[in-house]
């Protein structure tokens, strides 16, 4: 069947020392770097070092977003993601998201600290009128001001919680994303307290998505970055579900053209020109530390339920063990 041809695959190779080259599958997700790299916060763990004074990428205009949405239709794009920087710094963000909701499922990634009723109210109306979901993904990295603000800056926690409450009041169920900057041993406790905190703020059934820390950008300085051996090789891609790599099914629109992936804005070879249809088909050499991160954790940028992982079992354990399954046998 035709869909076989739209699967991502590796370019046949002779030299196993070179980075594997991925030929992408169908363009499922289109990302928009809607405020460029401008953010009101300066988080210690940001993977592209977004900040109030980072103008490496400029905001997109409403017209530019509309042009790209229109280009995405013949490509059969499934869903749209808006990120930055902080999208709610954009003066036209309500119009932009409302427009996207006329085309398909829309997700906005925000720190929640700038949300105003004047924005959330019309967005609730646009979401109700659309047949598609408007997802808010709200970043919070701790369950109290102390743990959160150490990374995100003073006052960020209280303002983000006010953002959560505002979204709830308008019928949204934000997906709270938390970067796992804590000791893995304390993860269950951190998650429990995060749930408790959100419930205390009126979120009775909190949706939480834990994200691994990407040791690139500002985070590289904080946690030491990756070693030179933390790279994707042909060997580790053997039997790997290539659909878990974001560049197998996504591209990013920026003011400087189309880029391969939301976490490779700093990489010069991440630029794939201005033509979206062509960029969607352009192979990419998986030579970056960020690619290793993506291989390791898989499709973390996508919403839950959007890019289903092949298996819930960690790769090293993904061998048939039917005997172990018989423990419930009578």
């Amino acid at each position: 069947m035709g869909a076989e041809h739209s699967r991502p695959r590796l370019r046949p190779h002779a030299d196993t020392g070179a980075a594997p080259v991925l030929e992408p599958g169908h363009l499922d997700a289109l990302w928009f770097q809607v405020t460029g790299t401008r953010c009101n916060l300066r988080c210690a763990h940001c993977f592209i070092s977004c900040a109030p004074d980072n103008d490496a990428f400029e905001p997109l205009s409403l017209e530019e977003v509309e042009r790209r949405l229109e280009e995405s239709v013949p490509l059969g794009v499934r869903e749209y993601y808006f990120t930055g920087g902080e999208p709610f710094l954009h003066p036209r963000i309500v119009d932009i998201l409302s427009r996207a909701l006329e085309y398909g499922p829309t997700t906005v990634l925000t720190n929640g600290t700038l949300l105003k009723p004047l924005q959330v109210e019309p967005l609730a109306a646009a979401a109700a009128a659309s047949r598609w979901s408007l997802e808010f993904r709200l970043s919070l990295d701790g369950f109290d001001p102390c743990s959160n603000d150490a990374l995100r800056g003073a006052g960020a926690f209280e303002r983000a919680m006010a953002g959560v409450e505002l979204l709830l009041a308008h019928g949204f169920l934000p997906i709270v994303t938390a970067v796992e900057t804590w000791d893995p041993a304390s993860a269950p406790e951190v998650q429990r307290r995060l749930v408790e905190t959100l419930k205390a703020h009126g979120y009775s059934r909190p949706r939480i998505k834990l994200m691994p820390a990407l040791r690139i950008g500002a985070e590289a300085a904080r946690s030491g970055g990756y070693g030179e051996h933390d790279r994707v090789t042909h060997e580790i891609l053997e039997g790997y579900d290539l659909g878990q790599l974001v560049c197998s099914h996504a591209r990013v629109v920026t003011d400087r053209g189309v880029w391969v992936c939301p976490i490779l804005l700093d990489a010069p070879d991440g630029s794939l020109g201005d033509d979206l249809a062509r960029a969607a088909e352009t192979p990419f050499a998986l030579g970056h530390a960020a690619c290793h991160t993506c291989w390791l954790h898989g499709a973390i940028c996508s919403n839950p339920g959007s890019a289903a992982p092949e298996s819930a079992i960690p790769r090293e354990a993904a061998i048939p063990v039917p005997a172990a399954l018989d423990e419930t046998a009578p």
Binding site: S72, G76, V77, P105, L173, N303, P304, A308, S311
Partner: protein, 267 residues
């Protein structure tokens, strides 16, 4: 690739070992006068005594598309590959899979391994493609609020079909596209549709008159859900699964739902 032809067809999926709902569904489809019934996969999960559903389906000679669950059971894989990402959801999925694997006869599992991933159906003069999750992936979730029209159109183009029928999400919906094309998620008969109604749902598609697009008819089926709940308790299946059967509200495997679908439920 299996090819079928029909003018009026019952399409159901997500049996999830709910053999009582399966019996009720087949009786309902029979009474509704269908000339074919096809199962879109996932015979096991959640419910008790998985062999019973296999026996009913096989005795009735109903064509079955291989779901991710059937594929995993058939190939002795260590998990169901349902596509969950949340730890609690995956813990419940693992529990359910262990029970189902252990209680599915090896002969049924061998049969599951040979099921087709896709079935083509001539529905009048329209071409329908039947699969479990999506034509490209058995565990892809096609949620109503998370698929643009142009994406669904692309799936139909790639599948060279006028009508695409799927299940896997457990929630029924249908979308008409330009040119009389259509995508139908037939829902699930193994657990209710997260709307507080314990009945389950499936779809009957009827070929259009004079070459028009097929009509979709939603069927809600009552069955003895209290009896199923009793059997689940006797098998010591999780109380969370039983609550869903009794109340019609989902209690697990919720974190993959998009916002609109999630907001309609209680949990």
């Amino acid at each position: 690739m299996i090819r079928l032809a029909a003018r009026r067809v019952a399409l159901f999926g997500g049996v999830y070992s709910n053999y009582l709902a399966l019996e009720a569904t087949l009786a309902d489809a029979d009474a509704a006068g269908v000339d074919e019934a096809v199962c879109l996969g996932d015979l096991g999960a959640f419910g008790p005594h998985p062999d019973r559903s296999c026996e009913i389906i096989r005795a009735a000679g109903i064509p079955v598309v291989q779901g991710n669950y059937d594929h995993s059971l058939g190939h002795d894989l260590p998990d169901c590959r349902c596509g969950y990402t949340d730890p609690r959801d995956n813990a419940f999925a693992a529990l359910s899979y262990r029970y189902t694997y252990a209680h599915t006869h090896p002969e049924h599992r061998a049969w599951m391994s040979g099921l087709p991933a896709r079935i083509r159906l001539a529905l009048g003069d329209r071409e329908a493609l039947l699969c479990h999750g999506s034509p490209r992936r058995a565990n892809e979730f096609l949620w109503e609020s998370a698929c643009s029209d142009h994406f669904l159109g692309w799936l139909l183009d790639e599948g060279r079909a006028d009508v695409l029928c799927v299940t896997h999400t457990g929630l029924a919906w249908s979308r008409a596209l330009p040119g009389g094309r259509r995508v139908v998620n037939v829902g699930a008969i193994g657990r209710p549709a997260n709307d507080g109604d314990p009945r389950v749902s499936y779809a009957i598609l009827t070929a259009g008159d004079d070459g028009g697009p097929p009509r979709v008819e939603w069927r809600r089926v009552s069955y003895d859900h209290a009896a199923l709940a009793l059997e689940m308790r006797a098998e010591r299946l999780p109380e969370e699964f039983i609550e869903t059967i009794e109340t019609g509200w989902w209690t697990t495997c919720l974190e993959v739902l998009p916002m609109k679908e999630r907001a309609r439920g209680r949990f």
